[in-house]
């Protein structure tokens, strides 16, 4: 199961980087969503996947391998942060489009040099 998800992480990163390198700001944001989901999945995978066992030990202290709850908690936090970031960047993109009427990253060279 891990190997499938690991490949998925790679695919998501590839798609994300590809989208980020396009010229449109909207595609950049879509790339950002891909990358942030790939990262979330990566963090989730770090503890390995333990199917069928709860994340908590009973008071007797079981010998079974239990699922590690910490990466799941980390991922929950990261998903929420990612959501906030995507919403903000979409709002920023909308505002930018309102002011300039362009979605082309190549037009963004006024503040460089």
């Amino acid at each position: 199961m891990e190997i499938v998800l690991a490949i998925l992480v790679g695919v998501l990163y590839t798609a994300g980087v590809y989208m980020m390198l396009r010229r449109s700001i909207l595609k950049f944001i879509i790339g950002l969503i891909f990358m942030s989901n790939a990262t979330n999945l990566l963090v989730f995978l770090t503890a390995g996947i333990v199917p069928g066992n709860p994340a908590f030990v009973d008071s007797g202290g079981t010998e079974k391998i239990v699922a590690d709850p910490l990466p799941q908690a980390l991922v929950l936090t990261a998903i929420v942060i990612g959501l906030g970031i995507v919403v903000f960047s979409l709002a920023l993109k909308y505002k930018f489009f309102e002011v300039t009427g362009t979605d082309d990253l190549d037009q963004l060279k006024k503040t460089d040099s």
Partner: protein, 497 residues
């Protein structure tokens, strides 16, 4: 020590207060009040650190490797004091230099948001918690940088946002891999595990992700392009807020991570740090020499000075680390101050382009003095703070035999001096070009407007005069960083794992 949590809680309380008391008249005073409180608190915390060497707080009563630990050691305490002082100066500066159409109330809400993230990043002892504080800080800074909603600001904002978000994602990926390999995210516990680990070279995958993520925030050589593209776009109050604080958090985390637990592969990492430090210094310094817009010169300057701090980390002797910490503290204050003065020049002449500015020395000697203090501090003229900072670093470099980086550092100091003299010549000495009537116009700055700059200038001078005392504190910080056993044993409190 419950008081350790207060640097995070005070800004949070003020955010809530600002949301409920929206009137401009009240929020005008909430900003300075909150930051003044932070100044007192951080001085008190520092006095406690001198007493006890280190303060720890296990949040929610969960013991060290399981819960989130807040740790204030010498480095954190020094950073807290200096950032509180800068925040205080800027909260007063905002009264007069924020444009009328920007609500002071809304500015202070995100100002305190940034403060909360900043203080949290300084005192946390947990890697994931650090990520969360970084995000708090970044979100506030995204809002602040685009606050004016002009075309340039939105454009600069997009560039700033794009690269910093990629940095955050790499940071998070690094956290994930680190947890996968060690099974802990508590910094002290990580340090304890990695200290006796013969396969520590496997840590390089995480270390490089962290290095790139913090490198983007700290604006080191190949990753700095977002900084000069965005720092000159927002209002000068916000520029000066970012200039002194944001990149230095990146440096703080680099110092923390690469002294506490990524110490496994010194040949590779210290070489890499030194090479990058050299390129950062030269690239920033040369770009600063080429520009004629005050804020752009100063932005490139930030990059150039970041190189010195990385150099201290790369040499990695107690003296060099102390020098890097000293340099960071001095640079935060002096750099903010130059931006504040740039705002005043703009108030007189309505432009940041040096070609269109002139004759300010005659018109306002006070501003000339206010500029010359941080400029000399940055260039390293004794007896102001910058001289001692550079002196310590160069001495450490020569003692340790890193001659080439020391030579680069000395040459870069010339670049710094050149670009400071350029601003001085253009803005203050030469005659006002074109319309002479502008030069005659009577604009008086009120005392409250120059007060923040005066305050920071005074601290720069005091840091120079009492350099020995400050150096002793930074040396203490460096000793704690180089020998992390004390940190580990105090955070873990003898828990055997």
């Amino acid at each position: 020590m419950t008081i350790v949590a207060l640097p995070i809680l005070i800004p949070f309380v003020f955010i809530i207060l600002l949301i409920f008391f929206r009137s401009e008249r009240i929020s005008r005073w909430q900003g300075p009040a909150g930051t003044l409180l932070l100044v007192f608190l951080s001085v008190y915390l520092f006095s406690k650190v001198i007493e006890n060497n280190i303060l720890t707080l296990q949040m929610g009563g969960w013991e060290a490797p399981f819960g989130i630990t807040l740790v204030v050691d010498y480095l954190s305490a020094l950073m807290l004091i200096v950032s509180a002082v800068i925040l205080f100066a800027i909260s007063i500066y905002a009264h007069h230099f924020l444009p009328k159409e920007m609500s002071l109330n809304r500015f202070y809400i995100f100002f305190f948001g940034l403060t909360m993230g900043l203080n949290g990043a300084f005192i946390t002892g947990d890697v994931f918690n650090l990520f969360v504080w970084f995000e708090v800080m970044l979100m506030s800074s995204f809002v602040l940088i685009t606050m004016g909603r002009k075309k340039d600001q939105l454009e600069g904002g997009i560039k700033y946002l794009a690269l910093n978000l990629v940095g955050s994602l790499l940071f998070l990926a690094g956290v994930g891999l680190l947890y996968g390999k060690t099974g802990t995210l508590n910094m002290a516990h990580l340090a304890q595990i990695l200290k006796n680990d013969d396969q520590a070279i496997l840590m390089n995958t995480s270390a490089i992700l962290f290095f790139i993520a913090f490198g983007i925030k700290a604006a080191i050589f190949p990753l700095y392009f977002w900084l000069p593209a965005s720092y000159h776009t927002p209002n000068i109050t916000i520029s000066s807020l970012f200039a002194g604080l944001l990149t230095k958090v990146g440096i703080y985390t680099l110092i923390r991570f690469f002294t506490l637990f990524f110490v496994h592969d010194p040949q590779f990492w210290h070489q890499l740090l030194l090479i990058i430090a050299g390129f950062t210094m030269v690239a920033g310094g040369m770009a600063a020499a080429a520009h004629y817009e005050t804020r752009r010169i100063l932005s490139y300057h930030i990059i150039s000075q970041i190189g010195y701090m990385v150099m201290g980390l790369g040499i990695f002797t107690p003296l060099a680390i102390a020098g890097a910490v000293f340099f960071t503290l001095h640079n935060m204050i002096a750099k903010t101050n130059t931006f504040l003065v740039a705002g005043m020049i703009n108030k007189y002449r309505g432009t940041y382009y040096l070609k269109d500015v002139g004759g300010l020395f005659k018109q306002s000697p006070l501003i000339a003095v206010l500029f010359i203090i941080p400029a000399f501090a940055l260039a390293g003229v004794p007896p102001i703070s910058g001289f001692f900072a550079k002196f310590i670093l160069i001495k450490a470099g020569i003692e340790n035999g890193n001659y080439s980086i020391t030579a680069v550092a000395i040459i870069t100091a010339m670049f710094t001096l050149y670009s400071m003299i350029k601003i001085w010549n253009e803005a203050f000495l030469k005659k006002q070009p074109g319309d002479q009537a502008v030069a005659q116009e009577k604009i008086k700055l009120r005392f409250a407007e120059v007060l923040p700059s005066l305050f920071l200038g005074l601290i720069s001078i005091l840091m120079g005069i009492f350099a020995m005392n400050v150096f002793n504190f930074t040396m203490q910080a460096a000793e704690q960083l180089i020998n992390p056993d004390f940190y580990i044993s105090n955070v873990l409190k003898g828990i055997k794992l």
